[in-house]
């Protein structure tokens, strides 16, 4: 187990290097640089800016300087927020995005798993139809549409909630609902499908035929086994939620990293893009690792070695 984790982390270093290299190359291939704007800057100003940010050096040198910085924990200065370092920008935005993401994740699972399970256990009942109906609606309605709808109802019409911003519990409600809608729907659908599948397995029939109480069968045999696909999806889902959604953060004016990242791409803010990608890659890789470890915990047949 420990060897497995260490090996995976060593691989991660290589993966991160490759991810950074690809990002760096793509970033410089995209037309337009950080100083391109319609009202052109004087050539001497562009020269001075390039010098200030080290963009006057050959690309390979810029890349290795960057990697050198990363190894020392320095992600550089942002070009589009030039009073700030990338590290401080990420550190300021991350807790906000993560708070939203984790709350949305918990809400999604708290709604999705019970509803999915109930729908499967009482297949073709009213609760099944309601669960499928809501799952379909939430899976198909885009976040920004849901967000605007909520805003019109709860802010503009009822005046119950502030439209946007950060700092109070009220300001969390609408963005968390919007973020949770799709993963909740996905969770419900996957839980339902996998529960139905597990219910037809031989070991469930065996458990019942040896006279176990229905609740014991459900909890010990059906529930536990049906969670494997749910956990598989939940890992990337959580990664997706804690790295932030541009659309939701932009709509609700959340000072998070999802919004910063997309603005960084638009501004060709190379150091902010690289820093965000690095963070995303680490988050996704670590959550995948957690998912693998959870597999082994849920299903003893799965061995990590």
């Amino acid at each position: 187990m420990l060897r497995f984790v260490i090996r995976r982390i060593l691989w991660l270093v290589l993966v991160l290097f490759i991810v950074l290299a690809i990002t760096f190359i793509l970033m410089h291939l995209v037309p337009g640089g950080p100083w391109d704007r319609e009202k052109a800057l004087a050539p001497k100003v562009v020269e001075a800016l390039n010098k200030r940010y080290g963009l006057d050096k050959p690309l390979w040198e810029q890349f290795f300087n960057y990697i050198g910085g990363v190894l020392h924990g320095d992600l550089g200065i942002s070009y589009s927020r030039s009073d700030r370092t990338v590290t401080s920008i990420l550190m300021e935005g991350l807790p906000k995005t993560a708070t939203l993401g984790v709350l949305a994740f918990i809400l999604a699972q708290a709604l999705g798993i019970p509803f999915g399970m109930a729908a499967a256990l009482k297949q073709n009942s009213l609760i099944d139809y309601i669960s499928v109906l809501f799952a379909t609606i939430f899976a198909s309605i885009p976040g920004f549409v849901l967000g605007i709808l909520l805003m019109i109802i709860f802010s503009v019409t009822l005046h119950w909630l502030p439209t946007s911003g950060w700092g109070s519990v009220q300001q969390l409600i609408m963005p968390v609902l919007c973020l949770a809608a799709l993963p909740a729907a996905q969770s419900a659908r996957i839980t339902r499908a996998s529960t139905l599948d597990v219910m037809r397995q031989d070991y469930v029939r065996t458990a019942r035929s040896k006279g176990l109480m229905e609740n014991v069968v459900r909890v010990r045999h059906i529930f536990r086994n049906s969670l494997i696909p749910v956990v598989t999806v939940a890992g990337p889902e959580l990664a997706n939620l804690v790295t932030g959604s541009f659309i939701i953060e932009n709509l609700f004016a959340i000072p998070g990293i999802g919004r910063m990242f997309v603005q960084g791409i638009g501004a060709r803010d190379y150091s902010l893009i690289m820093g965000s990608i690095l963070f995303y890659a680490i988050t996704i890789a670590l959550l995948n690792l957690v998912v693998d470890i959870l597999y082994a915990a849920i299903d003893p047949r799965i061995r990590l070695e």
Binding site: V30, P31, G32, G33, D36, R37, E38, K39, A40, L41, A42, P43, K44, V45, E47, A48, L49, K51, R52, I77, Y79, S80, R81, S82, D83, R84, I89, E92, G93, I148, M151, I152, S155, V156, H159, P162, T163, S164, G165, W166, G167, F246, N250, L251, F252, A253, P255, G256, R259, M260, V262, Q263, I265, G266, A267, R268
Partner: protein, 557 residues
């Protein structure tokens, strides 16, 4: 935004750099009646997107200026009608008061002696000397530094990126800005430049504190170190979320009514409007295209604030490329655009159709200039035939634009105009904003859609930079020896009447040659709550309407 694959509709305009000045200005209601003031005097406004920097020396975007203007006062400032007034300076230097030497090359500013920083220290000429030299430093790479290259030694110093520290210091000392004593600042220019005085009212020349910057470095802009000499103090800055300003209780001038100003950073214009309707904000922009509905809304229509901006949008042609190198083709295109229909039918009447470059409300505006290109489809077809395209189908033209804000709308409109009025197929090429800017700056485009907003209200900010041969913002590659000769003369001309006449002559040459088809002037359209009084809007407003005179605003009960 913007500007930015993801574009914020707030930045619905193509002009993002620099300020936009307007001709019209409005001052309503005047002073508050006694007892009518609400307690507390607080206002919440929306700044839109996050700034790059709020360091006055380095700033260049309109939202940055919205912040800087509250916290700093320069030597000079603009009045509501865009004329200059003395701020930290005792008076505006002129030849008569010996503030300007007779050759127009030396400016002497006498400073008021009662001006203080928000921490109580005196503002002196040394602060201005430090600030201007810092702004010209090659290491700082300030974006507006090139505007100040008229100062002796400025360009040499700014270009010294590769020099040693000692060489840089020597070049810095050679810059022609000197504090003669605590309250006298002398600035020497390479050559006479009568519009130079405007630059002393712009933010890059505002004073900054040497001791603070040396102590805190790049992070000096974070409160509580962001010390200025303006009517408000920045108390809190939460990135991407909000700015809180409080009244500067040490302010040397008339203190503002407002005790607290909050700028929030909502980037989605629809949400901005929702926040306004939910009474979270006191002022809001509206999504483009909704203006007509808002004018028809009984609650919102009395809250509309509209005023013209010193911004012109134009269809630019690459005059070195066929078929755009043919003046008759350009004239045919310009004559085939029904600008009035665009403003009235597409934009709900917001904006002003134009056939010339310099907008109304600025010196040098001529209402009749370009009237020969007013919409006339018959004449347009004749011009096209004269150009050698008797079959319009044979003319192939392409149009590149940043795919943001209202640009797709104007692109579709122009495409339809070309088809309906000329029978010509216009190929549209929408682009990512940065990719578009790179194409535009490299002058590789065919024809494109771009605007220009004033940095200061004078033709010399509008003509030589865009139409001078090889000038920095001349992307059409237009070149006229006659224009260049007149512009060179006009830039230095000390006689104001003669100077404006020279610019009028230069403008006429451009209007005849038509490297761009001028389409419309921009108009600001925002909503303001009825309890917000004393608002003064000007063409110098930054991102927030009325932000130049927040010090005049009061909240009525």
């Amino acid at each position: 935004m913007n500007k930015r694959t993801i574009v914020f509709s707030l930045m619905a305009t193509l002009i993002t750099l620099s300020l936009v000045f307007t001709g019209a200005c409005s001052s309503e209601e005047g002073k508050p009646k006694p007892g009518s003031l609400k307690d507390p005097q607080e206002i919440t406004l929306n700044l839109g997107g996050e700034v790059v920097t709020i360091d006055p020396n380095r700033a260049s975007w309109s939202n940055e200026r919205s912040v800087i203007m509250q916290c700093f006062d320069g030597l000079l400032a603009f009045n509501a009608d865009l004329s200059l007034k003395a701020m930290v300076a005792k008076e505006i230097p002129t030849v008569a008061n010996k503030g300007i030497s007779s050759d127009g090359k030396t400016y002497t500013f006498k400073l008021k002696t009662n001006v203080t920083w928000s921490d109580g220290k005196k503002v002196t000429a040394k602060d201005f000397e430090y600030s201007i030299k810092r702004m010209l430093s090659p290491d700082l790479a300030a974006e507006y530094a090139s505007f100040y290259f008229a100062i002796v030694g400025a360009e040499n110093y700014f270009s010294a990126t590769e020099k040693t520290a000692a060489e840089k210091t020597a070049l810095r000392n050679a810059v022609g800005v000197t504090a003669k004593d605590d309250y006298t600042l002398e600035i020497k220019l390479n050559d006479a430049l009568p519009t130079f005085i405007n630059l002393m009212a712009l933010w890059p020349s505002y004073p900054v504190r040497q001791d603070i910057i040396e102590q805190y470095g790049e992070t000096w802009t974070a409160p509580p170190h962001y010390i200025g000499n303006g009517p408000f103090v920045l108390q809190e800055w939460v990135q991407q979320d909000h700015y809180t300003f409080v009244r500067n209780e040490n302010y040397w001038g008339t203190k503002p009514y407002l005790t607290k100003v909050t700028y929030e950073e909502i980037t989605d214009i629809n949400v901005c409007l929702a926040a306004y309707r939910n009474n979270e904000h006191d002022q809001a922009g509206v999504p483009a295209g909704t203006e007509k509905a808002i004018m028809a809304d009984a609650t919102l229509s009395p809250e509309i604030v509209r005023y013209a901006q010193l911004t012109t949008y134009a269809w630019q042609f690459n005059v070195t490329k066929a078929p755009y190198n043919n003046k008759l083709v350009r004239q045919a295109i310009a004559t085939a655009i029904d600008r009035v229909a665009y403003i009235d039918k597409v934009r709900g009447g917001v904006g002003k159709p134009t056939t010339s470059w310099i907008p109304p409300g600025m010196p040098g505006y001529d209402a009749n200039l370009g009237s020969q290109y007013a919409f006339n489809p018959t004449k347009a077809r004749e011009l096209l035939a004269q150009a050698g395209y008797s079959d319009p189908k044979t003319l192939k033209i392409k149009f590149q634009y940043a795919n943001t804000g209202t640009n797709p709308t104007i692109a579709a409109f122009l495409q339809a105009q070309m088809k309906d009025n000329l029978g010509v197929d216009l190929t549209l090429e929408p682009m990512d904003p940065k990719a578009y800017s790179a194409l535009y700056n490299s002058k590789q485009f065919d024809s494109c859609f771009t605007g220009w907003g004033a940095d200061y209200p004078d033709p010399d900010n509008w003509l030589p930079q865009l139409y001078g041969t090889n000038a920095g913002n001349n992307k059409t590659q237009y070149s006229s020896a006659q224009f260049d000769a007149i512009a060179a003369q006009a830039l230095k001309e000390l006689n104001e009447t003669k100077r404006l006449q020279l610019w009028a002559d230069a403008a006429k040459i451009v209007s005849d040659d038509l490297p761009m088809a001028y389409i419309f002037n921009r108009e600001t359209f925002v909503l303001k709550k009825p309890w917000v009084k004393g608002q003064v809007t000007t063409g110098m407003d930054g991102q927030i309407a009325g932000d130049m005179f927040l010090r005049e605003i009061y909240i009525q009960k």
